[in-house]
Symmetry: C2
Subunit: 231 residues, 2 copies
């Protein structure tokens, strides 16, 4: 079950020195007094598509997925959020309701800061606002570029991409526990579950990776990269 955490340790939060480095002591204290830190177990929903947005939220620990449900009922995973990511993406500034559902795919800690407080600080402090704009732009660009490069590649290239993504951007190691099922992988890189499984098996037979359930061990990252590059 999710539970609200004691927030007395905010002063040493890495996020603070990253995203809030343009704020003075007084502003930081204001944020501290308008925030809540919540622990979520793997699988729990953090916020739901359609819900009113009233917090700015960032991930302190764990891993989350952003997903959307199209009219045709199929779930699509937009992106994976990692610690220090501003997981609501930009939509919380343009939209009064969440356009994505966010779910913990590992035990996670999320900070909720009152959105009006953040906006108020931005209005007062243009440097903070600009700094935030620059940082969040990078996130938005990443999502766009990732979508394009996934969709212009065929299945082997997509699987190569996602394996390297977890190795290089999430876990920083060539051996890791996949945080999501094969079905979710499929939703993330736009392919059928069966083909995700099939191509993982091919890669195993080709000695590119080893698989033990959710455990992935990358044996030949360079060749994987080449498969991705070639499409």
């Amino acid at each position: 079950m999710s539970k609200i955490l004691d927030t007395s340790n905010c002063k040493h939060c890495a996020y603070r020195s990253w995203a809030f480095n343009k704020l003075d002591q007084q502003a930081l204290e204001k944020i501290d007094s308008h925030k809540t830190e919540v622990f979520y177990e793997k699988g729990e929903v953090i916020c739901t598509e359609g819900e009113e947005v009233n917090s700015f939220l960032y991930l302190r620990k764990g891993l989350v997925k952003l997903l959307t449900t199209e009219k045709n009922e199929k779930e699509h995973i937009i992106s994976i959020g990692k610690p220090l990511d501003f997981i609501g993406l930009l939509s919380i500034f343009s939209n009064s309701n969440h356009i994505y559902t966010i779910t913990a795919i590992e035990d996670s800690v999320v900070c909720f800061v009152d959105l009006e407080v953040i906006k108020g600080l931005m209005r007062q402090n243009g440097k903070f606002a600009l700094d935030f704009l620059e940082k969040s732009s990078r996130v938005a660009d990443d999502v766009i570029n990732t979508r394009i490069s996934i969709n212009t590649k065929q299945l082997r290239g997509r699987i190569a991409y996602i394996l390297l993504f977890f190795a290089n951007h999430i876990y920083n190691t060539s051996e890791y526990e996949l945080p999501i099922s094969r079905k979710e992988l499929a939703q993330l890189i736009d392919m059928s579950t069966e083909n995700v499984i099939r191509i993982l098996s091919e890669f195993r037979k080709d000695k590119l990776i080893e698989i033990e359930g959710k455990l992935i061990r990358i044996l030949d990252g360079q060749r994987l990269q080449r498969i991705y590059d070639l499409g």
Copy 2:
């Protein structure tokens, strides 16, 4: 050929009252004195992938395409920019070099404002910065959502989407001149040129549209919408 225009008519620019409505007279004059307005003929390149970013740019008249060239040499169109769009997208804030090439697909007028001037105004004026963040967030969201919904649909749905896109979002009429070739349509909605042509022909045979070269006349928008919705 492109040519620099006289900019004496800035005071009545629609963009100004849209994007710059949080700025005072002095700030507006500063922008005026650091901007250049340039006319581009259809087909001319406005900025190139890799080039250094030193301007904030918005479209006053015409229509442009944003494209990127993947490693595999294929061009992909990211989005179509229309008047009042902030055509550099967010990347100009996160990246010191352009990540897209922008080309006029109709005779166009583009305003270049010194980016440092804009950033300076944002630092001074948090309300302006936040307002801009909210507006540009919407653009980024649109691009992301469009990419996802295109890629989760099959060919007929994609063609239906793009036909309705030009009708509803660009020209606001059910009869219009397509500003791009079939090949460019294909690059925009991720399919082969032949299939773009084929499905346009199917739609013509099905009495959904009429086609005369680049002229499109939508006969049954509701049915097109249904084709899009169903995928």
